[in-house]
Structure formats: structure tokens, C-alpha cells
């Protein structure tokens, strides 16, 4: 279970451009569930996902994984925790353009004792499921937006993580692929994974066990 307690993020504190991106947010994410965050642009969805994914330090508040506070842990510990448990799908996709689709997908494996080569089969399997098998060995910069998003999807799943953070995972893909992704998310939940996503997609919200609505950085 993920518990978020009184989480606040204020950017540029004390400066003229101070922004309260998230204010005093508390929520719980049960294991084996899909949780959707929604709300207008700029309401703090990405900020919350980043903090839960331990890639952004909150201004105040607490985050607990299975009852254990993770914010006071060292940077090294948090990095290791991410490596072992998290998969990320970013709003801006964030693939390295100089690498091929396959290389991008295998990248998370390089910081571990796993042999990236052994995961190639698994990656290609995912590529065929998502209809980008023929793009596996192309440079990412040659891919369309939707193809890139599918590649990012595979990258998040390659290590079979416990928690998946997906920031608007269906914005760039067509309806057919969206439906494919809904199916994958629900089977991931069935296999015991926990998924936190942000979305404007009503279908995806329907799939979620719980939906949190935000407005101007606050839960509503």
C-alpha cells in the first residue's frame, strides 16, 4: 500500500514565481489496484506522480510504502527502491532519441546485474502485442508519437515492476491501441501490480478502482 500524507510541493519558494503545485494532499493506494488522478491542466498530477515515484522531493508531507516512510531514506536507498519496484511512463515520453526502440526499452536493465540481452525476446514480444514489432530496431527519433508512447510503455514493464506510474499513458495513441492498453493494465492488476496513472480519458477512469480529482493542487 502507498500512503500519501499531507503532501505539499511548492516550487521556487520565496521567489516572485513561487508556485504551489500541490497542497496538503492525503490519499491511499491499495495494492493490486488501479488509481487514476485527474483534473485540469496544471492541477498537479505530474507533480504528485513524480513525488510518489520518488523522483521529486516534496516540500513537506510523508510518503509510506507498506507502512515505511521513504522520504527520510538516503538518495542511494531511494534509487535502489526505484530500480527494484518502479516502472515509469512519462507524460513527455522521455526516450533517448539517439537509441533504437529496443535499446531504449532495455536501458533500465543496465544498472543491475541482469543481462540486458536476455530480455530482448520479452521486449520483442511486447512490441508485437502493441503493434510496433517492425519499429524495434529503428532510432526512436524516427517513430511517431503513438509509437513512441507504446515503446515507453514496454520500457516501463520490462523489469516486471511492482508499481507502475503512468502519466497520461493514452494521449498519443489511437482508440484501438488505447483499448489494448486498458486490457494490459487490467491484466497487470490481476497479476498483482499496483498502477497509479493520471488521465483525462473517461474510459481509463472507468477502469480505475478509485479516481482522485484535483483542482489547483488540492484534492476535491
Amino acid at each position: 500500500m502507498i500512503e500519501v500524507k499531507n503532501l505539499t510541493k511548492i516550487f521556487n519558494r520565496g521567489k516572485f514565481n513561487e508556485t504551489a503545485a500541490l497542497v496538503d494532499v492525503s490519499l491511499k493506494v491499495r495494492d493490486r489496484s488501479i488509481v487514476a488522478l485527474t483534473g485540469p491542466s496544471g492541477c498537479g498530477k505530474t507533480t504528485l506522480l513524480s513525488m510518489m515515484g520518488l523522483i521529486l522531493t516534496p516540500t513537506s508531507g510523508e510518503i509510506l510504502y507498506d507502512g515505511e516512510s521513504v522520504l527520510r531514506a538516503s538518495d542511494y536507498w531511494r534509487t535502489q527502491f526505484r530500480r527494484q519496484n518502479f516502472g515509469f511512463i512519462f507524460q513527455h515520453i522521455n526516450l533517448l532519441p539517439q537509441y533504437t526502440t529496443l535499446e531504449n526499452v532495455l536501458l533500465p536493465l543496465y544498472s543491475s546485474d541482469l543481462a540486458p540481452g536476455e530480455y530482448e525476446g520479452k521486449a520483442r514480444e511486447w512490441f508485437s502485442r502493441l503493434g510496433i514489432a517492425d519499429r524495434a530496431d529503428h532510432l526512436v527519433e524516427q517513430l511517431s508519437g503513438g509509437e513512441q508512447q507504446r515503446a515507453a510503455f514496454v520500457r516501463a514493464l520490462i523489469k516486471d515492476p511492482m508499481y507502475i506510474f503512468a502519466d497520461e499513458p493514452t494521449v498519443f495513441v489511437d482508440e484501438e491501441t488505447s483499448r489494448l492498453i486498458y486490457g494490459i493494465f487490467s491484466s497487470l492488476r490481476d497479476s498483482g501490480k499496483t498502477i497509479v496513472l493520471s488521465t483525462h480519458d473517461p474510459e481509463l477512469m472507468k477502469l480505475a478502482d478509485e479516481v482522485f480529482r484535483f483542482s489547483k493542487g488540492r484534492l476535491c
Binding site: S50, D75, P108, S111, A115
Partner: protein, 396 residues
């Protein structure tokens, strides 16, 4: 554990291959920097070594006559006075000065006929012809440096005309050419018999330029020199002093150090600049992303370190090789004037090149270390910022 390091190593090499622009910029910057640094440094060391050889060829002590603090010709009557000092083995007279041929100035030395067979202090290695003999007195026979032979296109058997101070044309006959074209001592040297030199420089009867003193090998030249303090109006130069003079000419005061430092600073600035502009932006995003995936700060530093080391050592080694060929075989076009400007040697002089282990290490140090610092420090700074922010700032 080992597997991870292999992965990181693979990733480093991938980076070198994939970020072509980045790799190319560093490679080119490095090649230019190390080529220039090594050209100057190798030539500087070559010149310094030549200076040491010249000093070894010099007499143990040189005695000059001082009048009102200025050096003037010395009377040969001093020979007996100095020869009488304990520890002095031999005293030879020498007359020397400068002579012009066309736009060039060469050094003319007349050697004591008694010294010609003296084993110490005379360079006799010739490429062509023979060395001077006592019988050459007054014949106009000369031995010339290889540089002069090359510049004037003369060989043994040819005659050359030298202009003396009184602008009198004097004809001389080449009987030998020194062998080493990189020797700063013999390159521009014209050796003639003692009486020819005296006549050429219109020396008054019984006067010579200076006296060469050879000390008994068992004695310390410095202590023998101190015994000459009692002789008035003379100045004694020892080899240390000559060496210091040479080093000053070829070192700090000669501008070679300034040149070296300037090149070095420009090189480091170039490295830092290329790092900041090309590499910084690209790698910030990458570091944020890797950090998100669970690469630790140390992993990221390891990747960057390997990348820089491989690239730095490869480029620096290649740069040194180019620098060596550039100086040793092409005589450093574009740099030779800076290198020789202070040495009174014409640019046709072939630069002596010497590569010491120490200068190779220094070149690695001054190029690879700045590269390491300029890659590792930003990588580390990026790695300790929140990955989300690192990615966001780089994307913006």
C-alpha cells in the same frame, strides 16, 4: 555485481558511439589541444637537451676580461697567470664573434691550434669532410654547421664569402660539415683557424675574445674558479652558469613558457566549453532519466568516467602522435617562429625533438584531468538533483 559493471561499461561505449556530435567535438578539441601542447613541449625538451649537450661541449670554465663592467678582449698574458693556478690542466685561447651572410647571422669561432687535438670540449662529429688541423692556420679553411651548408647550399670543397665588421669580403674554403642538424651548438657555427679568426675580427696583437680553462678531472671546477678571484679584472663563467643562461633563453624568458601556458589555457577552455555547450544539455536529460530507472549517482559517475577516460586517452595519444610528426618531420610550420624567435636561429633550423616519459604524462594530465573534471562534476551535479527536475530543465 560484476555483471552490473559490465553493463555500465557497455553503456559507456554505446554513448561514445551514439552521441556522435558529442564524441566528435571532444575528439577534435582534444586533438587540436594535445597536438599543439605536445609540439611545443617536445620541441622545448629537445632544445633544453641540446642546451645541455652544448654546455657539455663547453670548457669547464670560461675566463673573460672585464673593463668598466663590460666584456672586452683579453690579453694572452693572462694564460700563464691562470695556468699557474692549482687544479688547472690546460688554458686555451679562443676568438669568436658574429658574421653575416646575406640576411643571416652566424657564429664564427677560431680555436687555439693547440686545442684541436684536445679530447674534451670539441665537437668533431662530421657529416662530410674533415675537422680542422693545426696546419690549417691562416689558410682560410673552415668547418661549417649543417644548417649553414643547407641554407647556403654549399658542400665540402666550395668557397664562401663572409662579411666582417669592416665590411671586407673574406673568402673561406669549406673542408668539413658538422653532422647534426638539430644541434643548437653547431647548427649555425663556422669554425676556423685561430689566426684566421683574429684577422677576420681585426683583433689587436696579443688579444683574444676569451680563455677556455680545462680543470684537472680530479678537481672541482667551482673550487678552482674560486681560486681565480685573486686575479683582477676577470670574470669566470662555469658550466652551471652557461646552462642557466641557455635555459633562460629556451625557457621562461624565451616566451616558450608563455606560449605553452597560453596554449594550455586555451585548450582547457575549449574542453570546458565544448563540454558545457554540447555535452551538458544532452547529458542532463539522460542523467535524470537514468537516475529514474535506478542508476545510482556512482553508476552515473562510473559511466561518465569510463567514457571520458577512453575518449581522453585515445584523443590525447593520437594528438601527441600528430604533434610529434608535426614537429619532428614537418618542423612545426606555424609554430617554429614562436619556438625559435628568441634563439637567434633561422626558421630553417630543424627543431630538436625529445619525448620524455615525463612530458607524455604531463600532457595526459593536463588534458585528461580537465576532461574528467568537466564531465564528472556536471554529471554528479545532475545526478544529485531530483530526476524529474533534471529531465524537465533539460527538455525546456
Amino acid at each position: 555485481m560484476l555483471r552490473k559493471h559490465r553493463n555500465l561499461l557497455d553503456y559507456s561505449f554505446d554513448c561514445l558511439r551514439r552521441y556522435r556530435m558529442r564524441t566528435a567535438v571532444i575528439l577534435v578539441t582534444f586533438l587540436v589541444a594535445t597536438t599543439m601542447i605536445s609540439a611545443v613541449l617536445f620541441a622545448k625538451e629537445g632544445l633544453e637537451r641540446e642546451a645541455e649537450f652544448s654546455v657539455e661541449a663547453a670548457p669547464d670554465l670560461t675566463v673573460q676580461y672585464l673593463k668598466g663592467g663590460r666584456v672586452e678582449p683579453i690579453n694572452t698574458s693572462y694564460i700563464d697567470i691562470i695556468a699557474g693556478i692549482p687544479g688547472v690542466e690546460k688554458v686555451l685561447k679562443r676568438t669568436w664573434g658574429y658574421a653575416g651572410i646575406g640576411a643571416y647571422t652566424f657564429v664564427v669561432v677560431g680555436l687555439d691550434p693547440e686545442g684541436l687535438d684536445h679530447s674534451r670540449g670539441v665537437i668533431t662529429s662530421l657529416e662530410e669532410g674533415r675537422f680542422l688541423k693545426p696546419e690549417d692556420e691562416g689558410t682560410g679553411n673552415i668547418v661549417i654547421g649543417k644548417l649553414i651548408a643547407y641554407m647556403l647550399k654549399v658542400k665540402v670543397g666550395d668557397d664562401i664569402i663572409l662579411l666582417s665588421e669592416s665590411v671586407e669580403a673574406n673568402k673561406f674554403h669549406v673542408v668539413g660539415v658538422f653532422s647534426d642538424s638539430s644541434s643548437i651548438y653547431t647548427a649555425d657555427l663556422i669554425l676556423m683557424s685561430f689566426s684566421d679568426a683574429n684577422k677576420f675580427f681585426s683583433m689587436p696583437e696579443g688579444m683574444v675574445t676569451d680563455l677556455c680553462v680545462y680543470v684537472d678531472p680530479a678537481e672541482d671546477p667551482a673550487s678552482v674558479a674560486s681560486k681565480m678571484n685573486s686575479v683582477s679584472n676577470i670574470r669566470v663563467l662555469d658550466q652551471d652558469l652557461l646552462l642557466r643562461g641557455y635555459k633562460a633563453a629556451y625557457g621562461a624568458r624565451g616566451g616558450i613558457f608563455t606560449t605553452l601556458w597560453t596554449i594550455l589555457l586555451v585548450a582547457i577552455a575549449m574542453i570546458a566549453f565544448s563540454q558545457a555547450i554540447v555535452v551538458g544539455h544532452e547529458s542532463k536529460f539522460e542523467v535524470g532519466l537514468l537516475k529514474t530507472f535506478g542508476f545510482s549517482t556512482l553508476d552515473i559517475i562510473e559511466v561518465r568516467l569510463v567514457e571520458s577516460l577512453v575518449l581522453g586517452f585515445f584523443a590525447a595519444s593520437l594528438g601527441m602522435l600528430i604533434g610529434y610528426f608535426y614537429t619532428a618531420f614537418f618542423n612545426a610550420p606555424g609554430l617554429v617562429d614562436i619556438l625559435l624567435g628568441w634563439a637567434y636561429l633561422p626558421r630553417e633550423f630543424r627543431l630538436p625533438v625529445y619525448v620524455s616519459l615525463q612530458s607524455v604524462f604531463s600532457i595526459y594530465a593536463v588534458t585528461v584531468i580537465p576532461l574528467l573534471i568537466t564531465t564528472v562534476v556536471p554529471a554528479w551535479l545532475n545526478a544529485i538533483t531530483d530526476p524529474e527536475l533534471a529531465m524537465r530543465r533539460a527538455a525546456a
